[in-house]
Amino acid sequence: MGLLVIVGLVALTSVGAYIVGTRVLALERVSLRPALGEALECLGLAVVFLVVNLAAGLTSIFGFRALTGRFVSVYWLNDLSLVVLSVLEALVFHRWWRPSK
């Protein structure tokens, strides 16, 4: 039931945003498809940042263990904030990179 509420809410606000976009902001319907493509591009970039962050984190932790002999848990990387920050990195990088395309 909770699942239906969440999906239903998002569907409803998406339809609302489409109506506001086309009728109030006079956005072109044809530009929605490229916008979706750009959003996917940005998400893909976020995945890349996440993988790089994880790889850098693991390398640092194993390197630290090997060099100092002290224990540092890899579970430090198990944090939702790393995903959020990777998305932020991707958003900024995408906005920076986009005008140059």
């Binding site: 909770g2 959003a39 976020a46 995945v47 579970y75």
Partner: protein, 196 residues
């Protein structure tokens, strides 16, 4: 870039599968295996996530302890063994006492920071006492690796996973999928390094 778009679409696809289908629950149940709640020499509660500075246990650590205490109360073993980090063990010890487990029935290991270290600590503590058959309390997804490591340390293991059906909300399922991914990575790492 086309490649990034494909990656983004794959991320959305995986997100939908992870959050809105019971895949995580199915994996959780499969990894737990079948519980073997048989009379044993000891109930071993492995550490999970430690404790906060104020001594509050993580959700999973607390669930494991409650499972262990419950098994003790059912009379499945005369001894409850608490493992994990120092802070975690201390908090669990206090809680177990508070839940009515006599102090004489509680054993604690020295600090075990990884499951491998915990298995070594357990063998040093229990095998000299002749306590070889153990009920192993761990999360369902941790059970395959934990069981293998503890068996390699010389024990006969009866798995006693905590609740195995898993969460029903999208956010909790996403969390579980993340934990499963980490656990499978750890399993692969242990196999690669010859620990399993």
């Amino acid at each position: 870039m086309h490649g990034l778009r494909i990656l983004g679409a794959a991320a959305v696809f995986h997100f939908k599968i992870a959050a809105f289908t019971p895949l995580a629950n199915v994996l959780n149940i499969r990894m737990a295996g079948t519980a073997q709640l048989e009379a044993s020499d000891a109930i071993v509660v492995l550490g999970r996530g430690g404790a906060d500075r104020d001594g509050v246990l993580t959700n999973r650590s607390l669930r494991r302890l409650l499972r262990g205490v419950s098994l003790y109360r059912e009379g499945l073993a005369p001894v409850l063994v608490l493992s994990g980090t120092r802070g975690e063990t201390r908090s669990r010890l206090e809680l177990a006492r508070g839940l009515g487990v006599p102090e004489t029935a509680i054993l604690t290991t020295h600090e075990g920071l990884t499951t491998k270290q915990e298995a070594a600590e357990l063998s040093q503590l229990l095998l000299p006492l002749g306590r070889r058959r153990i009920l192993l309390v761990a999360d369902p997804i941790d059970m395959p690796r934990s069981r293998s490591l503890v068996e390699r340390a010389g024990f006969v293991v009866h798995p006693a996973p905590t609740a195995a059906s898993g969460p029903s909300g999208p956010e909790s399922r996403l969390g579980l999928v993340r934990e499963i991914a980490i656990e499978l990575t750890a399993l692969g790492y242990y196999r690669l390094t010859g620990a399993l």
